[in-house]
């Protein structure tokens, strides 16, 4: 096997491709994450209401997104649902990086199911007495949720939320299958053009590893900062 030579990555427009891929990957991750967290929180809240229909719908949402592979979900959105949209919407989407938008939506919705389950677990582990105390003070339902339940539930759910954030981050690589020019896509492009597989693969692997570890480390740090002082 030939010697590994990373300098090949600096040739031609490879640096630009890598940089573009990195940016795309980060954009995808951030956007999908924010969407997933917001939606996941709303879903967790919806699951706590008295409406049986709403609770059943959320349960169905969660089950669907957890039992269908993320790749298939991306395909369904990009090849399937996109074609059902009204023509002018499809036109607009195609003019504005449609594959990026649809990949973001697919990944965000998939992860929203996990986020809502994580929060649900956190919420369930809060004793009913906390709710009673808040209600006894005259606090309304939403106030209780916002000020008493959610802060505690979030702390409890933090480790699993961090795990799922890493999962979301890794999931962005799947967007390459529909042509989103993120890091893995760029990696394959460079491989096919330069035939220097090991260098670009190693580079990309290191990037993914580093960022995953960063997310996990960030999560631990956050956990420590939020930890409640004990005796």
């Amino acid at each position: 096997m030939n010697r590994v030579d990373f300098s090949v990555l600096l040739q031609g427009d490879y640096p630009a491709m890598i940089a573009g891929g990195l940016v795309r990957m980060l954009e995808l991750t951030l956007l999908a994450w924010v969407l997933a967290m917001v939606l996941g929180t709303l879903l967790a809240l919806a699951r706590m209401t008295t409406s049986r229909l709403l609770r059943a719908l959320v349960a169905a949402w969660v089950e669907y997104h957890q039992n269908v592979p993320m790749l298939v979900q991306i395909f369904l959105w990009y090849f399937g649902i996109a074609t059902l949209l009204p023509a002018d919407m499809q036109f607009w989407i195609n003019r504005h990086s449609g594959e990026f938008i649809l990949a973001t939506i697919a990944i965000a919705l998939a992860m929203s199911a996990y986020v809502s389950e994580d929060l649900r677990g956190g919420i369930r582990s809060i004793p009913a007495s906390q709710l009673e105390a808040a209600r006894a003070l005259g606090m309304g339902y939403l106030q209780t949720f916002r000020l008493v339940v959610l802060p505690q539930a979030f702390r409890i759910a933090l480790p699993t939320l961090v795990n799922h954030t890493v999962l979301l981050f890794k999931g962005t690589a799947l967007a390459m299958t529909i042509g989103v020019a993120e890091l893995t896509y760029a990696t394959r492009e460079i491989e096919s053009r330069s035939f220097q597989t090991v260098e670009i693969y190693l580079f990309t692997t290191i990037v993914y590893m580093a960022l995953s570890l960063l997310i996990m480390a960030g999560g631990s740090m956050l956990g420590r900062r939020l930890a409640l002082p004990g005796r």
């Binding site: 592979p69 298939v72 059902l84 990696t187 692997t205």
Partner: protein
Amino acid sequence: MTDILTILRDFGPLLLVGQYPNGPLGGLAITFVLSVLGIALAFPLGVGLALARISPFKWLYWPATALIYLMRGVPLIMLIFWVYFFLPVLLGRPVSGFSTMLVTVAIYQASYVAEIVRAGIESLPRGQMEAARAVGLSYMQAMRKVILPQALYNMVPSMLSQFVSTIKETSLGYVISVNELTFAANQINSSLMTKPFQVFAILAGIYFVLCFSLTQCARHLEKRVARRRAGETARTAAPVAPAALPVTAE
């Protein structure tokens, strides 16, 4: 809706078994074979990794830990590309997409199985290992005869969950043209062209039915195991940590 029924009627066999018997096996059958073989291989690998992780020997601990972090930190699709490129180089001969997927999935799942096994072992009361050593069993004998059998029972629901994850992961075989379910669906879509939503809805539906039923089994088993463990805890009065639920991968 009638579209969906038509597609199922016309392409059902392709989705389910590929071109068999007029050609190689494909579709859902391959997905199934890949998943079963994958988890079957992942299991002994995972046990080995788990033992390496709890062993005091640094030369076992660090490589195992490094592998697990690698599997956790890198997207599966990237790992597939690695194995696709590297395995033929290693073996000196071309390797089929199927074999590539099998190896990748087995190693990937092994790292999750390792954590499940480790949690399962550590959730047993310490007294078990102590009692086994006290009667004179060696460490490995104690592991094989006393610890692992009990830990494995506790792990069955988690293993079932990992099996579901494996099924979902096989969908990535598509990117290296392995003729599994997702690949078959894409083929159908390419030939039909006009009904993409229906085709992919069917695809999602098949995965959903398969994975959801298995997940429900796992949940049912989890309750049974928890009930049995509660009984044991009451008797031995030792704190039992709940088996870590696996982080379901793609």
